[in-house]
Assembly symmetry: C2
Homo-oligomer: 488 residues x 2
């Protein structure tokens, strides 16, 4: 019976056993295949990093960078590898202004809006979105030497990429011009003043006068005054010299005129006033996210900076295009004698950043399209609050204009609001805004009237939102002061 029973039940058991066996074997086959696949790393990156990466020395550093980047700061801050370590020995969240707490989730009530510096953090989200493309890995032995691929201090590949970017964007004619790197275009201001001034040996010639048309970027005056010497000195605004001859001052000293176009603070397009041969054109903002590009700039000396292009202010990298051989040589010599060339670490990082921007031009990940969208919407929202109600402050007027890069009329998207206080009693506009808990930058620092002040619009979204709140408070207060105005 048992046998018979066994005999009778055997086919079912055997069937079940075989099914189980075969499925088990199949599962093994799958797992073995997949395991083999992993070891080969042929799977590539499956997005969640499940695949093997076949990394050796770079793995540890990559994990550290990702683990730090993964810390949650509530969207109001970020953790950096070199952040100050907390009690647990790990770097903590560095919060945006008006946010605090371990994860930056606490919003400071009635926080003062800081619209002072031109910190270009509006582009930070772009680089977070393109994390893989924007990352770069340094080996411990990367470019230890003083000398790089131009046999001195500048990366030839970076030079090529910078020239390519200008050609592709169409904002500058770069052929037939020397390219000199600096630790920010900031350093190149004084380097060019040095290069354009009479030779130190030439005691006969009076010092060159460094001038600009108000309102002007304060650094021209500050640097020139700080580093002044036998060769050059700050000469004030071009207005003071309007009656002087075009190329030399009353006592024969040459002029070095800084022309910022589009202008900081008021975003106006500028031309040289006292003659072009000694003019330095600062085109920090001549990129499609801030301004229309009617045609490529082609002046003899042009300054650009990564700070306002990609948003990497902390990297301290800028460059000058210089047509004249001797001026270029002297500018390069200044950078050499001052710092022996811009950090090679930064040069490698900037190379990667520029390659990402180039690869995405006119695509859906175009950094200029992204930047223009952000800044245009901020300008719209600011104008909506200010223009409609306020008789207290006014903003500069910027007409829409055709842009050869976007191939269409583009709406204004300035980096700064140049604010004028309209009330007679608000002679010091900076002070008036400060009473409203808004930190701006005094017009006086730009050689302009104190009725004007600059508000930075290119910081984080949090900064801009708080700024808009404070301005709304001012406007509402104004309405309560004069209720009738609300019915206008």
């Amino acid at each position: 019976m048992e046998e018979a029973a066994g005999g009778q039940q055997a086919p079912g058991r055997r069937l079940a056993g075989r099914v189980l066996l075969y499925s088990s074997l199949i599962l093994n086959a799958v797992l073995l295949a997949r395991h083999h696949f992993f070891l080969l790393g042929a799977g590539g990156d499956d997005g969640n990093g499940g695949s093997s990466c076949r990394l050796s020395w770079a793995l540890q550093a990559a994990r550290e960078a990702e683990s730090v980047a993964a810390v949650d700061c509530s969207g109001h801050g970020r953790v950096f590898l070199d952040g100050v370590a907390g009690e647990d020995g790990r770097p903590w969240c560095e919060c945006n202004t008006c946010f605090s707490g371990p994860d930056c989730s606490l919003r400071t009530p009635n926080c003062t809006a800081d619209a002072d510096s031109g910190d270009p953090l509006f582009l930070e989200p772009y680089w977070r979105r393109h994390a893989a493309a924007g990352a770069v890995v340094f080996s411990g032995w990367h470019r230890m030497s003083y000398f790089t691929t131009d046999a001195f201090f500048q990366s030839v590949e970076l030079e090529n990429q910078i020239r390519q970017l200008h050609r592709a964007v169409g904002n500058a004619v770069v052929d037939g011009k020397h390219l000199v790197f600096g630790t920010g275009s900031f350093q190149l201001i004084n380097a060019l003043v040095y290069a354009l001034s009479p030779d130190a040996g030439d005691a006969t010639s009076p010092p060159a006068r460094v001038v600009a048309t108000a309102p002007y970027y304060p650094a021209y005056k500050l640097q020139t005054a700080m580093f002044d010497g036998w060769e050059y000195e700050w000469g004030g605004t071009t207005l003071d010299w309007a009656n002087a001859s075009r190329n030399s001052s009353v006592d024969g000293g040459d002029f070095i005129e800084f022309v910022t176009s589009p202008n900081n603070p008021d975003t106006q397009i500028r031309k040289a006033v006292l003659g072009g041969s000694m003019a330095v054109f600062d085109h920090a903002y001549y990129w499609p996210h801030f301004a229309p590009i009617p045609s490529p700039a082609d002046e003899d000396i042009m300054l650009f900076t990564m700070t306002k292009l990609s948003g990497h202010a902390g990297s301290r990298f800028g460059w000058a295009f210089i047509r004249d051989d001797k001026v270029a040589k002297r500018t390069y010599e200044y950078v050499q004698s001052n710092i022996m060339g811009a950090s090679r670490d930064t040069q490698l990082r900037m190379l990667g950043i520029i390659k990402v921007m180039l690869a995405n031009l006119h695509g859906e990940d175009d950094i200029f399209a992204f930047g223009h969208d952000v800044m245009r919407s901020r300008w719209r929202r600011l104008n909506a609050v200010v223009s409609r109600w306020s008789r207290r402050i006014s903003l500069q007027k910027i007409p829409p204009q055709y842009c050869t890069y976007f191939k269409r009329i583009r709406e204004p998207s300035p980096a700064y609001a140049w604010v004028k206080c309209e009330r007679e009693e608000d002679e010091d506009c900076h002070e008036a805004l400060l009473k409203g808990n808004i930190i701006s930058r005094e017009g006086g620092r730009y050689g302009a009237s104190s009725r004007y002040t600059r508000m930075s619009l290119l910081k984080t979204d949090d900064d801009f939102d708080v700024l808009l709140e404070r301005i709304a408070d001012l406007v509402n207060a104004e309405k309560y002061e004069a209720p009738g105005s609300s019915s206008i």
Copy 2:
């Protein structure tokens, strides 16, 4: 029968079937477990990168860095991520001097030895050996802001690590002193000259005189002459002022004395000659791989640089310890007005490099033990060739001395050979060596006699080997000229 047969064979079959089934199930369990293990990445790095790394955005950049680093340059060159791209679009090998070819395997016959620059590539092999620890990964959004953890331009964590390193090495007293970063200590030379000079506003006081004792590092003179102004000027060697009062020159102008100790070029330990209150001590070479550390330096103003510490000349990073509040503030202001602070990219990379050095102090991977071994053996080999035979050139004498870091008498391991040409006709030692296909740096540039010239000993092994060959040629030529000498 079948049944019976089946009945008879069934146990064997069932047994085999079960064995197969169970082993298959066990294999399932193992593979599933292992697969799960992989997905968790708990396997860690198995050395060849076989395990999963759970990387996402950093993976691509890490792979690129490793693939570039893996290119074979025959041990006589290296490929960098930002190297000039060859026809295949990939960066090619950058070869050491006297080597060429796609993989740097071709040795240039009778190659001229370049012993000119102080390029500290003798430390490159150290960082190749510690590839994992020395690597750092930058996210695209790392420190985009102008502002870092000191609320301005300097990383607080980097400050802490630098102070820790000095304490651990025992080469400087860092407490009670401000720390100011620069783009190389090179930039801080002029920054300190500015900070120690009379205020620009103070027209009554004569310019400060910048002086040094010959032979001195040429940059002090070059920078001061290039950037001179109302506030300071190059004053020549201290010898010219030996009879002047200790703290002010004949016309009352103050002295700013640069004291390089150990000295470049001759590695002598130096003290201030014209009084200490305005002395800047350049301790670029005051680290155990170059010099004994008898006790921690504790001057009011001390300069250090990563270039000669870790070998990262290309990163352009140095620092100054400054006791006086006002001097520190003015130095910081100079760096701020000149470049808005050293590259944050470099600050992150240097933080990692310093952490590696700190973690390995006194261990088998101690960078100072490594560096001292290399430089000591070079000095031995050089002396063996020069001292024994040559009556034509001589080297500076350096006695062995006790080092508090190594806790023993250490043999000399200078960064440079300060060569004197002994023959009457060799008045220009640099020229004499050049005839022997050796490029050195003229003694005249150090304010010394042309009978002296500097040979750099801290470049690559290839550079040093070629240098030794050329010197051997000189010595042999000398022997043939005066055979008797070989029997001495």
